[in-house]
Symmetry: C2
Subunit: 232 residues, 2 copies
């Protein structure tokens, strides 16, 4: 395993810091290795510090009293989790749980705040990170408010194709390592609706092929275009 300093320097938020400062932060970090389904924190709890994902996948979500869940973000290696409440001192706005066995580091709040105030580059990086979340949320809100389930799913597949897909013929191939239950939470619907929407997208030719987790889909622009026009 490489030194913690080297690892932190790979991470966008810390990338622009001087090595000396990173080393100081690294000294205060608490590494954690946890299994699948481990809850990092729950919505409403007071915020103790920042998590950064080194390996694995963390799901950030809101849950309703009757058990349904809406996923707000899924964070992978190198991404910070819950950088928001560090500053205004408020509670976590959402809950977080690991989707896979994961390695994380935990950085206590005081340490991070110090770095934030000491270095404008850190501040800028934090603002960019928050900005990205905000953009993503506005986007998500729009699709949940306006589009039907099939369109939302098409959007999700388009994102996935862009992130992890490989061109194959005139389409994109990728592996979708999520259950339908998890997909449903991401687009704010029920598991059964995802199943039906997948069938619908397949008959429309937007999903060309599907075997287990292997997907072959139409180009992402085509998926998005279809979703934007409400389908047809």
């Amino acid at each position: 395993m490489p030194s913690l300093v080297a690892v932190l320097q790979q991470i966008p938020i810390f990338a622009e810091l001087e090595q000396r400062v990173v080393a100081q932060l690294a000294a205060r970090c608490v590494p954690r290795t946890v299994g699948e389904g481990f809850t990092l924190f729950r919505a409403g709890e007071r915020c103790a510090g920042l998590y950064v994902v080194l390996e694995g996948r963390v799901r950030v979500y809101r849950s309703s009293p009757d058990g349904r869940e809406q996923t707000v973000a899924v964070e992978g290696a190198g991404r910070p989790v819950a950088e928001l409440p560090l500053f205004d001192g408020g509670p976590y706005p959402a809950s977080a749980v690991t989707m896979t066995p994961s390695q994380l580091v935990f950085l206590p709040r005081g340490e991070f705040e110090h770095a934030f105030r000491a270095d404008p580059d850190v501040a800028a990086a934090v603002v960019r990170s928050l900005g990205g979340r905000l953009r993503h949320l506005v986007q998500l809100l729009e699709t949940v408010a306006f589009r039907d389930v099939a369109a939302r799913l098409a959007m999700l597949l388009a994102d996935y194709a862009d992130q992890t897909g490989a061109a194959q013929g005139d389409g994109v191939a990728f592996e979708l390592d999520r259950t339908q239950e998890e997909l449903a939470a991401e687009i704010g619907t029920a598991r059964e609706s995802v199943s039906r929407a997948l069938k619908q997208l397949t008959t429309r030719g937007l999903i060309r092929n599907r075997a287990g987790n292997r997907f072959l889909v139409a180009p992402s622009e085509q998926l998005r275009a279809w979703a934007r026009t409400g389908g047809m």
Copy 2:
């Protein structure tokens, strides 16, 4: 009209700056007075600078191709609009239009960025502001994803009661200067559904009295509690 410097110093984002710095910013501000229904910018345009509302009300929204709208925020006096895209250089994620005749100041991007990097207090204020938006959005997303129209409306009324309400008996009285159309856009539904939801809340006793814009509603905690449990 008071000097622009004095006005800017009232505004949270600039409140902590030294007077000299504020004066410098004020010199670069462009004041604008616009009527109702004036579009400040549209989603997707490149961001030129920051708006701050001095007087009036600005609605920030996303619109769907088929004409429906989801408002993301309503900003009043002293609030910044679109501070997000200033930093990552991306386009506006939403559109903005005035709901009333308004006075604004416009601060070109370069100026603001300079202040941001020069003063960690400004950076902290920006992060707090973004944080507030993010919290609000997560909240909004949850209600749109989980709750029915009546519950969303109850939430909205609770917010309104907290912001501008006056206790009256065991309830809260306030004036709601919005059309049902605007309410519908805020909670992501259709005008007619708002009308029906208002009736429903009235028969349930959560709205005690309603005459034109004057509302008398149950205490905000009661409204929120009812909304959270899905009603009944």
